[in-house]
């Protein structure tokens, strides 16, 4: 079973994402901000990170840069999942090493499509 770290400061979003991803057979861990996510990754690297952008303490982009610079941090597939839906944010995320990008609102179909494109399903 593949593991997915869901990073979002909204409890509702984490719950929705968890439900969709558990149905797709992922083992889910949750983090509430970028720092929390980094701590979780230092403990165990997940196969994939579903990552919000705007969060308190540490935002998604800073988390991603930190993750990619850390030991083994190039391995997890990182899929942004954010309301930031303009090209400049998308470009910044991809340049920082994100593998895919979901613009909220999302549904099961979009998650499934994006995860299958990056070879997770």
């Amino acid at each position: 079973m593949k593991s997915c770290l869901v990073v979002d400061d909204s409890k509702v979003i984490r719950k929705v994402a968890r439900r969709i991803l558990e149905e797709l057979d992922f083992d889910i861990r949750e983090a509430v901000d970028g720092q929390d996510a980094l701590d979780s990754c230092h403990e165990t690297l997940p196969d994939v990170v579903l990552l919000d952008w705007n969060m308190p303490v540490m935002n998604g982009l800073d988390f991603l840069k930190n993750l990619r610079a850390s030991d083994g941090g190039d391995k997890p597939v990182v899929v942004f999942c954010t309301t930031e839906n303009d090209m400049s944010h998308i470009s910044a995320a991809i340049s920082a090493g994100a593998d895919e990008y979901i613009m909220k609102p999302f549904d099961r179909e979009i998650i499934e499509a994006k995860f299958s494109q990056v070879g997770l399903i």
């Binding site: 839906n85 303009d86 090209m87 998308i90 991809i94 549904d107 499509a113 494109q117």
Partner: protein
Amino acid sequence: MRKEDFELLSKILKERSGLVLSENKVYLLESRLTPIARKKGMETLDDLINEVRLRRKEDLLREITDAMTTNESFFFRDSTPFDLFKADVLPGLLKARANARRIRIWCAAASTGQEPYSLAMILSEMETQLAGWNIEIIGTDLSKDVLDKARAGVYSQFEVQRGLPIKLLMKYFTQAGEMWQISEKIRKMVTYRPFNLLDSFRSLGTFDVVFCRNVLIYFHQDTKSDVLERLRGQMAEDGTLFLGAAETVLGLTEKFKPVSGKRGMYMTADHAGQLRKVG
């Protein structure tokens, strides 16, 4: 369409199929559901909506859901046919057509353009290899409305997220408010024309590759056979046909053979016969 009618229908569709209908899809409700109203002997779509509101009959709800979902088009829908097109069909054609340097592709149920544009993006990604080649993509559909949308090449945020890799979105689309428009370069690679598959194919010419996916399912058996046999008449002998994942030629025509191990891909029976002889 009134707001409360749109909300009623989109709620039903969401519940029954998970289909998320954004406000800009009102035209889709109108173009797909009006024929159902007519079939039921009703004057207008409003009558159909009233019927839904009053009685919520299961078979009517199912019909509405089917009409709204079955045609839904994604970029790179089902991915396999596009992978096969890129990895199998194109390399073969690049050899076989090395002199003429001409390839013709027909998307016979082009709908709102995602399929022909997906092919155009694949070809565009290979443009150095294809320099000097003349590649034509013809997209046809019964509905003029969907072809207008295809020509405009403007898609909602939902539409560009189903099947389209983010890197292709970045490369080939520009943002226009809440919508995304595919680049002129890609739009220019596809020619659209309204066309009924029940009409003669002769005016269309001969094709090397035909995508005829998820449209035969709407037809009766004998119409399926007829369309497939006539398709063969418009294809090069070494041409390739792609059908939808739930479709087949078996029991319908002897003129195409499934390519073993390649789901949804068919070659002409003549070509299959020649390959057997050579092999």
